[in-house]
Symmetry: C2
Subunit: 324 residues, 2 copies
């Protein structure tokens, strides 16, 4: 009997959201639990399994589910483990894929959230039909999922695709959460945009709408709102951010020559404010042979659904692996 | 009847070398022609075909040859063309794979020289059994061949893997042959090493064996010889070169997390002089999750044979494609 659905689980620091998804990318039944409420991983898995049973029952039972895909910070596809995730309650290495699969009786695959986003774009999103592309997630941090020849790049250890941590400023670079200096993430994430705002406000004296705010509390959203109103300093912050991203993208293209680079996540909602300077810097910094070839696209998946859809897409892949 | 051999052709600006190779990577019969002698591509192909007929006859006829692999500067795997190669006599786009295959009656695959080196390492060299690795060729320029999941990375257009042209110095970078500034190649190639030597000799006043040479004629070999004799300035040139390579490698690892990075080409013969500072800088600049995992290796293929072996390995792949 054909199994028509997959189940996607997106694990965030605050909430764990899950849903039953059909082949067209419609979330049919969904639910959520509070991730932070469960200090003990076994309590978490028990609560999650209970939630999953609910949506599985709605879908007509576990015989309808081809596989479960999990997107989680620091998730390793090869081991099925979450490994030392700083923003989750459980320390060390957690064999989450195994724990869930034992409880629920459905095969489970797990990867990190950016990889899940890339698989989601390939299965349901703007990357349908593409074999070579890169998804860049612009949120609190900068993540990436790289697809080459139709396959997600996991590397020899399952941790490939950390493009938020390539060094874009070798000298006087910003301190990153990873302990190093000058990572792309320190400039191009939502928090990076806020850092740029604080830096410009301190170093300069020109007027700006941002000066009415408490500098320590400025967010990328504040910068976006001010830029929308034509605030010059805020527009410049987007230009700086876009330029750094575009320069980095030109190097990524020299590596894998993708058909498209797809922007995903909160900051990607800035639209042309960000896209224009990215495109300009990317083309300007690109080796001639690549110029004008790589598309820059925004994810079109509804943001509230995208994480679950991305994770669920991994569920179809399990099925394929089993069929071989 | 099983075909026991492949034929490899390495096209350089000066010579074109070719050889019949068996499954163990032994070059059984070989020959060469002068590339530069033929201004007309048809004359070149005619002369090459004549040379190939010779070794094919020695091997027992074309029924013994599974396929022909060609490694050429600016060779595109997808199109089988050499496209705008600055160091070859023929301008524009040359459909070389087709031209050779028509003349000789054996299927031909073509790629650039660095990709051929990577396939050679995977088939006959230190990368046997590896599915994820990067070959960096350190010659007059810096090239790269990237293997992910056992497949060479060609990108959506066939031009992926231009790691010699990632930008390692965004400010005050050296002018590259590609027209941009700060490319890895301008520092880490043999000519880059000579440039570093000239720069240090001008900017500093300390004694060095290199000061007895005409600065305009210094080569990386001169720097190597002086370093071998303990010349401090020359040792420092290798440290600078290795540091820049190691920093770049740390970023490459963040992309594809390879099991190994393999050094190939003239400059790779510098051994520990280069390897030590590369390793140090790579580990120091690597994201924690990758530290201590990526092997740094030298190609073990005999340099005179490596280019032909690498190209020939592509010949086995054609066979596979036909079999499907």
């Amino acid at each position: 009997m054909e199994k028509p659905y997959v189940l996607g689980i997106d694990i965030g620091g605050t909430n764990t959201v899950f849903g039953v998804v059909d082949a067209r990318g419609t979330i049919l039944y969904s639910g959520s639990i509070k991730t932070g409420k469960y200090e003990e991983i076994n309590d978490y898995v028990a609560a999650l399994a209970e939630g999953l049973q609910g949506v599985i029952a709605q879908a007509g039972g576990k015989d309808k589910i081809k596989g479960i895909g999990v997107g989680a910070p620091n998730g390793n596809y090869f081991s099925g483990c979450i490994e030392f995730a700083p923003n989750l309650p459980w320390k060390g290495t957690i064999p989450l894929a195994e724990l869930i699969s034992e409880k629920v009786g459905i095969p489970v695959a797990l990867t990190n959230d950016a990889n899940a986003a890339a698989i989601g774009e390939m299965t349901y999103g703007v990357a349908r039909g593409m074999k070579d592309f890169i998804v860049i997630t612009l949120g609190t941090g900068v993540g990436s999922g790289i697809v080459i020849g139709g396959n997600l790049v996991y590397g020899h250890d399952g941790f490939a695709g950390e493009l938020g941590h390539v060094i874009v400023r070798r000298e006087h670079g910003r301190l990153c959460g990873c302990g190093r200096y000058g990572c792309l993430e320190t400039y191009a994430s939502a928090t990076g945009v806020a850092r740029t705002a604080r830096e410009l406000l301190i170093n300069r004296t020109d007027e700006s709408l941002l000066r009415s705010l408490n500098p320590d509390e400025i967010t990328s959203k504040d910068v976006f709102d001010a830029a929308q109103k034509g605030d010059q300093l805020s527009l410049e912050i987007f230009n700086i951010t876009g330029k750094i991203l575009g320069e980095a993208f030109a190097d990524f293209v020299a590596f894998s020559s993708p058909e498209a680079i797809i922007l995903f996540g909160g900051l990607a909602k800035s639209g042309d404010l960000l896209m224009k300077p990215i495109k300009e810097a990317m083309e300007k910094n690109m080796l001639k042979v690549f110029q004008g070839k790589t598309k820059l696209l925004f994810s079109q998946l509804k943001e509230s659904d995208a994480a679950v859809l991305g994770a669920s897409a991994l569920g179809w892949e399990i099925k394929e692996a089993v069929e071989i």
